[in-house]
Symmetry: C2
Subunit: 347 residues, 2 copies
Amino acid sequence: MTRRPTVVEVAQLAGVSIASVSRVLSGKSARRDTEDRVRAAASELGYVPDATGRALKMGSTLQVALAVDDVGNPVYTEMMQGVEQGLGGTGARLVVSSTGHDLDDLVAYVRGLGRGHADALVISPLQRSPELVDALVHSPVPVVVVGDVGEGVPVDTVRTDSRAGVLLAHRHLVGTGRSRIAFVNGPAGTSPGRARREGYLEACVESGLAPEVVEADAFTVAAGEDAWARVAALSGRRRPDAVIAGNDLLAFGVMRGALSAGRRLPRQLAVVGIDDTQFARVFSPSLTSVSLGARERGRLAAELLLDRLASPGRDARTVRVEPRLEVRESSAPVVEAVRTPGAKRSS
Amino acid sequence: MTRRPTVVEVAQLAGVSIASVSRVLSGKSARRDTEDRVRAAASELGYVPDATGRALKMGSTLQVALAVDDVGNPVYTEMMQGVEQGLGGTGARLVVSSTGHDLDDLVAYVRGLGRGHADALVISPLQRSPELVDALVHSPVPVVVVGDVGEGVPVDTVRTDSRAGVLLAHRHLVGTGRSRIAFVNGPAGTSPGRARREGYLEACVESGLAPEVVEADAFTVAAGEDAWARVAALSGRRRPDAVIAGNDLLAFGVMRGALSAGRRLPRQLAVVGIDDTQFARVFSPSLTSVSLGARERGRLAAELLLDRLASPGRDARTVRVEPRLEVRESSAPVVEAVRTPGAKRSS
DNA sequence: TTGTAGGCGTTATCAT
DNA sequence: ATGATAACGCCTACAA
């Protein structure tokens, strides 16, 4: 809680001008003698250049803003770690906003970014509106969108294909003997919600299975648990023997609900999540999940950003991360029970 | 990516002086006419005051730095949410640093905070050194420590009593019939590691049970899984029938390891975690855990901070959050199966 | 090599 | 009520 010294005081103590102080401290050449005295004075006073003054002069804050929907979702902390990693040694600080679900707030946030507290923005919006897209395109600072901002919008983007991700999951389940595969989607009003729904419906057509979609009202564990109740209530002769969930949190909720209801996992019910968050492998049974490379997308976003800052004029670019299915215990193949000799038996 | 307008341009367009612009926009009284023209000009140009310019003038950045060990640990994202909540409507932004384990880096970070990119610092260090304490005490900005910074150090602090937390856990396990309770601690070189170890040893004295400590080399799931192997290798006639873990991540690792090894949870092994992170209730079996009120501690830290900013001169203050045991499935009581009337048998 | 001086965008003081 | 101007702390032409 001590007041901080400025260049002026360092200069006085060293007996030189403030220009010399600044020069020495930013590594420009100076006479040996001056350099020594400046360094001595600076370290005696504990001088550290003020970030604000420098930012004002240089027009850059050394800060990157990161806006995600919900920091409580591990997929976003993983993305955040990716961004940090991608920013690497640039010394940039990360200003994190958990923007929540309100689209207007998000737009206001992006506009307010004009306030210049960050040199750039990495944003991963769950929803988009024309206003948001407009705000992103006209942002005063470079923007990288992780997610879906629409085709042809001139903004750097890191995309993945969660539609294809759901296809992977569905094929895997069909291939391992599941025949009634329900889909617990997140809110259909979100971009991932729409894309994943599409993938599911496409997979149903491909496989000839009847689509059964339950829509959760958020991408959370609680919403997943709630959705499970509706899956369990689906009518029909046979119960659903598999669930694809819109993300890992929903999948955890479904598993929790199913286990509480006495279902055997994975024997009676297979579950597949999306995002492959760090807890997927830890859960019991461990959760088969479609990795969308959150950490890698974060890293790529940071790289795109650094590249953009280096060449502001270049055209917008889109990089893609392919979904990858991580098979674990929660989707173990159906084993056929033996009745007659020659067949296999379930344990 | 458009350049941002400044007060000067707004003033020109409105036909007034920059002083009037600033006045109107900060809500001071002005002639109706001037006010209208300024507002019109500002909104036409899409003017938003520059955060850096304002920060330089006002000497405050409207930013709060948050330094935690590992954002990948849900306990810290919960703390972060608490800080956000406690900051409430102040409009302060959160600059997050995942400082990692290196103590020197942490000290450098606190010193570097002198660079003035934040008005205050909330820090939750895993370890402390004299250098760190010194840096915190002499920090140029107000500091709130969430955790243990030592007695009598003049820094605002939010504490909890994880020693007592472990006692709660141990008594609970003893009370529900467990008789060989091992402790999987995090690194003993950390403050929580030391405090929790102490609590465990104290509980062993209290209960008369022999202490058995396995030290994991980090507070992570992987380290917990690894530690499980060492618990399983403990010699003795009976196996350990309970494990207290240094935090939830370690507990998850232990559960994972134990389940993979074929142990029945909670029948053959009870597990209790610490932190009560959001996934504790989701895991299967759900994890009994000692809540240390991470979110509340974050909120309290923010409040302490706001209070300190309001009255910089006041004495350092310490607020406490009491640990609370959340009993769940992973520590279900030992059930005694009946063989012969009156006799007991463990199942 | 060094010092002087101007300006980044803002707010606030002090005249008017 | 309003306008001119100084100042916040820094960097960097430009001049010496």
